[in-house]
Symmetry: C2
């Protein structure tokens, strides 16, 4: 049992009670509000040596810590409200670095109307640990879950994928505007933010919804930086593999009834001319993930990725 | 500038906006709810090597992580609702230890009607880092702040102080029942939980309220374990000093109008016969902290604590 299987097993036995609309397992938890809204709750951490390095620009580190949580609020179709910061400081930390962290975080908070209402500071030995707790809100019953995908849905993804290692993971724009527009204009059946790679996150949707999914290889939007990395660095992943499996793209991955696909693409292009939207596949009966290329359709298992190895 | 002064400076410039009733600086943040309630938000972490050791019973570690946050909700006169857990796991962590952490946390959550609605797991190098984000609720306008103390108030503290190092910090009962009763039956002017020692936390109240405070030395409830430690370990603090300055007592420290003091003591004893309540002093004009003993009244500055050194 690896650490994630263990956590999954442990979280299946957590204390729960009244007022919990959606518990562990989606991008955010959903709990009851008083009136016509529900409250979204999210917590997430970035850790030195894991999500950033000591040399990383401190403003981008603070920005990233909050941006990751904002992306999860977007993935529920919600709006962010209040944030709390927990800092685990390394021994002999640099005050200037910390100022940068706060500055980057604050700037992004202001841009999205988030109030930073408090936090806690402690020591963490040899590395900086930044935890963000974020609340959001959504109209009652309108949170978009991973579990709502239906057979026949078209699968869409925003932006371009595979660029995280080239710096996107520090500079991405959480897709809050896009998500709000989607939630208002369309009946989005399911949504997630792409944090584990397109393949991994589409699998999360499929599993939660009890369906299968089929990707169209030629439709996967591969970022220029993934292509460049593959060309320049012999050791890097082929670009399609990067787009399917690199984490931290933080794009929106969602499904809507196929009949609305053209309306959606039209409307999106008018609203967000600078943000790509791609229809990358469809929801099918059964389970698991398949990919269709010139040679046919095959299962996209974890082992299956070896297919994309350079040749 | 030390790290806490730095954080204080940084948090004075945080992004804020509509719907924030109380921002950084109290035991919890208070934000608007929809109806006749407000929402309390708290985040806090326990870190291996700081708040517990690798040898500490894992159930008590999980329990403590949540209990600290519950104590902060109690200090606002609120009721806890939903918790999120962020785990920073050390390399090569022990799955059995983690199960214990969850078990201890879950048990306390259930005892207080808290739903654990999600969380996040990441790596943290050489030590376990557990962050809890907790929400609570309170009747609109009824959150009890640090800033409401008034000249003439009597100062009360629950329980006994100075026992944290003897194990109390792992086993304390968050004073939620007591706090709810207080909030319902009395007009509590100000409240805080004792996490920095009686002197430090009373100073927080005094400063936030723009008043001074005077402690009565003989009234400070010193725990038996603090007395025992002082007797058995030549290197430990004198018991009064432990009661005034040891952190992690997690008792309620609050002020109410002096005319209600007797009613309060009577009512408390009926409701909570097993929990001591002590009137330890009064709120006075001016600022700072003073202590009255057989020899008179003197300022209780940080330096002043040397007075209590063993002799």
């Amino acid at each position: 049992m690896n650490e994630f299987e263990l956590i999954a097993a442990l979280t299946s036995e957590l204390a729960t009670g009244e007022g919990v609309v959606v518990g562990p397992g989606d991008d955010c938890a959903v709990v009851d509000g008083d009136g016509d809204r529900e409250i979204l709750l999210k917590t997430d951490a970035v850790v030195e040596g894991v999500h950033f390095e000591r040399e990383t620009d401190s403003r981008l580190v603070g920005r990233k810590a909050l941006a990751r949580c904002l992306s999860d609020i977007a993935a529920m179709g919600g709006s962010p409200r209040h944030a709390l910061i927990t800092l685990g400081l390394p021994d002999g930390f640099d005050p200037g670095y910390l100022k940068g962290v706060y500055a980057g975080l604050n700037e992004l908070a202001k841009a999205h109307g988030v109030s930073v209402v408090g936090g806690e500071t402690t020591n963490n030995g040899d590395r900086l640990f930044i935890n963000i707790a974020l609340t959001g809100e959504v109209e009652k019953g309108r949170a978009i879950l991973r579990s709502g995908a239906q057979v026949g849905d078209a699968v869409f993804v925003s932006g371009e994928l595979g660029g995280s290692l080239a710096g996107h993971h520090l500079k991405f724009e959480p897709r809050l505007k896009e998500s709000s527009w989607l939630a208002a204009e369309f009946e989005v059946h399911s949504m997630i933010d792409v944090s584990d790679g397109l393949a991994g996150d589409l699998r999360h949707i499929a599993r939660a919804s009890g369906v299968g999914a089929e990707l169209l290889e030629t439709a996967v939007p591969i970022s220029r930086s993934a292509k460049r990395r593959a060309r320049d660095q012999i050791s890097s992943k082929p670009p399609l593999l990067a787009a399917l499996t690199d984490g931290e793209d933080f794009e929106l991955l969602f499904t809507i009834v196929a009949a609305e696909a053209v309306n959606l693409l039209d409307g999106w292009q008018r609203e967000f001319p600078d943000v790509k939207l791609s229809c990358v596949g469809k929801i099918v009966e059964g389970d698991g993930l398949r990919i269709k290329d010139r040679t046919g359709i095959r299962e996209l298992t974890v082992e299956g990725f070896t297919h994309f190895a350079k040749n």
